[in-house]
């Protein structure tokens, strides 16, 4: 039975401050991972979608959500993972993309739902905005990022790949 009353909006507000463990300048809400909050007589069910199938941050995120809900006396609560519809970088807000860029990570150009992913894309340097950049490694510190280097300012940078 639900002992406390919180609206869906209250819960979204509480959870929207939780940072993405791998890109702490953006929240899980801005990343589009937080899909829904279902409220019924069994309690509060936060619906989360993984960015990548094997994303190791999902466990931490689910734990962060539970801790936040517990701290705000949102009981009983649980976190469920849904795979459908599949997460896409299109769900990332423009604000999140801007924050990511300021942080030094080039934001994704588009989603990978189409065939563009097979083609070569021009990635803008997040530091000097040059388009004269080159891919160094298809993967970086995490599955969702590639490594690039800017030929003008010479700085290496990460690019958040389209997904």
């Amino acid at each position: 039975m639900v002992r406390s009353t919180h609206t869906k909006e209250d819960i979204f507000r509480m959870l929207s401050v939780i940072p993405d463990p791998e890109i702490p300048v953006v929240s899980i809400y801005e990343m589009g991972m937080l899909r829904d909050v279902l409220i019924d007589e069994d309690g509060y069910n936060v619906v989360l979608t993984p960015t990548y199938s094997g994303c190791p941050a999902m466990g931490i995120i689910a734990q962060d959500i539970k801790m936040t809900l517990d701290a705000n006396s949102v009981f009983p609560n649980k976190v469920s993972l849904v795979y459908h519809p599949a997460w896409t970088t299109d769900w990332m807000s423009d604000e999140a993309k801007q924050k990511m860029k300021n942080y030094g990570i080039a934001p994704p150009l588009h989603s990978s739902c189409n065939q563009d992913v097979f083609h070569h894309n021009i990635i803008e340097c997040p530091r000097c905005h040059s388009e004269n950049t080159v891919m160094l490694s298809r993967f970086g510190s995490t599955a969702c990022k590639s490594m690039y280097q800017c030929n003008d300012c010479k700085e290496p940078f990460e690019y958040f790949k389209c997904h």
Binding site: P50, Y52, S53, G54, C55, P56, V82, Y83, H84, P85, A86, W87, T88, S112, C113, V117, F118, L136, S137, R138, F139, G140, A143, M147, K161, H163
Partner: protein
Amino acid sequence: MTHQEALYSYCLRLGDNALIQSYRLSEWCSNAPLLEEDLALTNFALDMTGRAQALLTYAGQVDGSGRTDDELAYRRSERKFRNNLMLELPNGDFAFTIARLLLNATYEYYFFTELRKSADETLSAVAAKTLKEVKYHMTHATDWTLRLGDGTNESHRRMQAAIDALWMYTGEMFETDEADALLQDKNVAVDMAPVQASWKAYIENVLKEATLTMPADGYMQTGGRKGVHTEHLGHILSEMQYLQRAYPEATW
């Protein structure tokens, strides 16, 4: 065979393919020829572990035994594994790993493109997710095949040897059995004939561009669907399952 048995067998097959391939790729961790490859191959492995988790969790739900993904991964003997033989072969040299990745990722790309239309919502959702990831695996393997095939005499020789050695394992990917037939009637499983045609056309093109020769179809290895594996799977499992066998129920 009931619908439930067929679906369980189908999920297990897809889950085991992801799990065993992931295991082999993760063996490159700290051993790849370049740091960039170390990252790429192990990231592919991570995608596949995630896919295996989703599919084995679903398999446990479907068969009603309540077995978790971990129980299915760590408590089955090799005769119960349903993965394709190609995926359990040792990594060999880098060319062999790339050739296998090319053959399998291309297959997965066309396969999951079809599975996305499955009437089964869970399979369709896993397919949509996988498809996004597999595009990167396939592009990466294609790039390397071109580079090695059309590279030095030595890289060409190794790449050709790898393709030749793996060819007899490619037939198994397109095999169908009773479970396929039953599930296809309900629009759950994928019709393999068009997948095979698309696969062959893509591979033929890449090999040609890489100045490699596509082998002629000859004797094809088989057995994974029946749990009859090469001697290599047992060795994988003895290492992979060691902890759960030695300390049952151990958790993080």
